[in-house]
Symmetry: C2
Subunit: 412 residues, 2 copies
Amino acid sequence: MGRRTQAPPISWLMKLPLDHPSLMTGRMALQYGTTVGDPQLRRLTTDRLWQLDSSGGTRSTASLIDRRRASTVRARVGPSPRESKEIYSAERAVITSGSQQLLYMLTECLCDPGDVVLVEDPTYFVYLSIVQSHGLLCRGVRLAGDGIDLAHLEQTLKLLQRSGELQRVKMLFLVSYYQNPTGITTSFVKKVEALKMLKQFERAAGHPIYLLEDAAYRELRFAGDDVPSALAANGAGERVIYAGTYSKPFATGARVGFGILPEPLLDAVVRVKANHDFGTSNLLQQLLSRALASCRYEKHLSALRHRYARKAVAMVKAMREHFPADVLWEEPRGGLYVWARLPGSVKSGLKSKLFQSALRHGVLYVPGELCYADDPTRRKPNHEMRISFGSATEADIRAGIARLGATLRELL
Amino acid sequence: MGRRTQAPPISWLMKLPLDHPSLMTGRMALQYGTTVGDPQLRRLTTDRLWQLDSSGGTRSTASLIDRRRASTVRARVGPSPRESKEIYSAERAVITSGSQQLLYMLTECLCDPGDVVLVEDPTYFVYLSIVQSHGLLCRGVRLAGDGIDLAHLEQTLKLLQRSGELQRVKMLFLVSYYQNPTGITTSFVKKVEALKMLKQFERAAGHPIYLLEDAAYRELRFAGDDVPSALAANGAGERVIYAGTYSKPFATGARVGFGILPEPLLDAVVRVKANHDFGTSNLLQQLLSRALASCRYEKHLSALRHRYARKAVAMVKAMREHFPADVLWEEPRGGLYVWARLPGSVKSGLKSKLFQSALRHGVLYVPGELCYADDPTRRKPNHEMRISFGSATEADIRAGIARLGATLRELL
C-alpha cells in the first residue's frame, strides 16, 4: 500500500467501540460514527447488492435473469454461500461522497507515484485525471463487446513482467456496466477470468493486484439482464473492490456513493476519509436510508430507467436519420452514453474541426481521445465521440443530433 | 505549488462559459457547474463574510463591536474599500464538504512531501493528521492569550532560514477563533502582523508563504466581540486563504464548508475537487442557500449560541466545584472546548492513568499531546486536556466533570 496508509494520530479514536458510554465524546465520536458511514445505510446497501448478485436483477424490472442459469454460473465460478455472506457484510462497506470519492481515496491508499494501473482502453476520463494527479502510469487493455480482451490483458501483464514493471502494478480498473464511455458491459465470466489472471501474476509482482470494479451505471439498465458483480467470483473477498453510487440511479444532487472493500483497504480508506472530510453528510445518508427502506428508491429508479430508455431511443433514431452511414455505434442497453466511431478521415479531438464546429452550433460531446490513457505502447485513437442522452430533453436530443449530423456530413 | 496542480485532462471543460448554449452537456456540464459550488451560495457566503468583517459582528448578537473602533483599526491596517470589495467577491469562493475538505485539498495543492507548515502549538489535531499523510513537516509557534507569539514566529522563521529550510515553508495555519483545542482567539492586529512577517521572509523563501485562516468556530461566539478575519488585512488578497463552515453554526449533518482563496490557488483547488468528488452535494447547497436567504440560518445560529453558552457555563461551574485547585483553565467565550492544564506531575496522554481511568468511567477527552505537532525543536507537552461541551447535555456535562474531577483528585 502507498504512503498515505500510515496511521494518523486520530486512529486511536477508531479503536473505541461505537457504543462506548462516553459522556463527553462531543463532536468527535459523532464524527467517528459517520466517517465509515451510517450503519443502516451500509446494511441496506450490502443487502441490496447481495440480492442483485444472487438474482441477477432487481424485482422491479421486467427482464429478470433466468434464475437457474444464474445459479449454474455461480455454481461453476462463484463462491460458496458461506464466503458470499461474508463478502456482502455491512462491515465491509464505506459510504462516500459519490463513488468518485472512493476511486480517489482508494487510489491514494493503494498507489505510490510511479505505480501502474491497468485500465480499459478507453476508460472513464475523470479516473485518468485521478491517476495523473497521483503521478501514476497506465496501461490500456483493449475492449471487446463483452468487456476486456483477456488475451490482451495477459499479454500486457507478461510485457510488464518482462520489463520489470510488474512490481509496480497495483490494480485493474473496470467500469463494468454500460461503461463510460463505450456503453459496454463486462460479462461475469470475464470478471472471473480477469481476477484469476491477476492472481496468477501476484507471485511475480510480490503483492496483491486488486480488481477495482466501478459499477456506477449498473442500475441504469433498460434492456437485457443484470450481470453479477465481481464480488460473486471465487476469491473476491480479498481482491475485489466494488464502487457503487446512489447519485446516478437516485439523485445526482445527493452525492452518496459506497464501496465494498477487503478489510485492510477499508481501514486505510476510512483513515484517509477522516482526513478528507471525516464522513459524508449524515443528512444525505439518512435520506437515502429512508428512500431505500421505504421502496421509494425502487419506484424512482424504475421511472428513471424508463425515461433514459426513451431518451436513448430518441438519440439512436436521430443518429440513424442524420449521421452519415459510415459512422458506427452500438445501441445502448443502459447507462447514459452512445459511443460513435467515425471513419479514419475525420478527427474528433478537442482541436478538430468537428469538435470546434459542434461547439459553435451549441453541441458538446466528449472527444474519444480524452478517454484514452497515456499509454506508450500505442497511439491514442482520435476518431470517436461520447454523446450523452442523460440530461437533455428528447426534443433537444433530436435537435442536437441533427446539428451534429449536418457538421459530420460537411466534413465527410 | 505541489505536483497535484498540473492540469488534468478535464481542465478544458472549465474553460467553457457557464452559460454555454450546449444542448448535450449532460451530466458533465452539470458537474462542472457544481465543482466550484452554487453561485447563489457563494455570493451569500462572501456577502455575509464582508458584513462580518465590516461590522465586526452579526446583527443578531447582543454584543456588537463598537463600530467606530472597528473602522479605526481598519483605517490603520485594513485594505482600501476597493481592494476589499474584490477580496470578498463570490468569484473567489469555493464550496466544499465541510471546511475540512478545503484544508485537505489546499494542503494537497500547495505542498510537496518534505515541505514545512507552521502551526499553532498546540493546534487542530486532525490537521496534523492531514499534514502527516502528505509527508510534511511542522514547526509549532507558541500561543499567547490573543493568538500566536509573534516573536516566536519570527524566531522560528529565522531559524528555518539559517538551516536552509525556509524554501520549504509554504504556509502558516491558524485556527483563529475559539481555537481547537485551546479556545484562544487571535486578535486582528496579530493577523496583520503575522501576514507582514510572512511577506518579509518571502524573498528568502523564493515563493509565497500563505496564511491559512481556519475560522470554523467563528460564529459560535457567546461572549465578547467578533474580530475581523485576516481577509481584512492589507495584502490579504494574494496571501490569505479563509476556510469557513456551515456545519458547526448550522448543522453538522449537512457537511457544507467554503473557502475564499487567491485565484491561482482557487483554480488548483477546483481542479483537485474535480478529482475528489466533482462538487459538494447540490441538495445541501440549495438547503444552505435558502436557510441563509430566509434568515432561518441566523435564527438557528442565535439559538445554538445560547445553548452552547449555557453548556459552557455548566461545564466551568462543575469544573470549579470538582477539579483540584491546581488545574487551570480559561472560561470559553465561544467554540466548543475548555482547555485544562494539569500540574506537571499528572500526565494526560493516551497511555496515562488519567486517560485510562477516565475512559473506564465513561469520560472521553482529547489528550493534549495529540494536539502538538512532531516538532524536533521541543518536547511534546503531556499535561493538558481538551474537554468538549458540544454534544453532551448539561446534566451529562455535570456528571462527567464530577467523575473526571474524582479521578484527578485520586491522582493528585
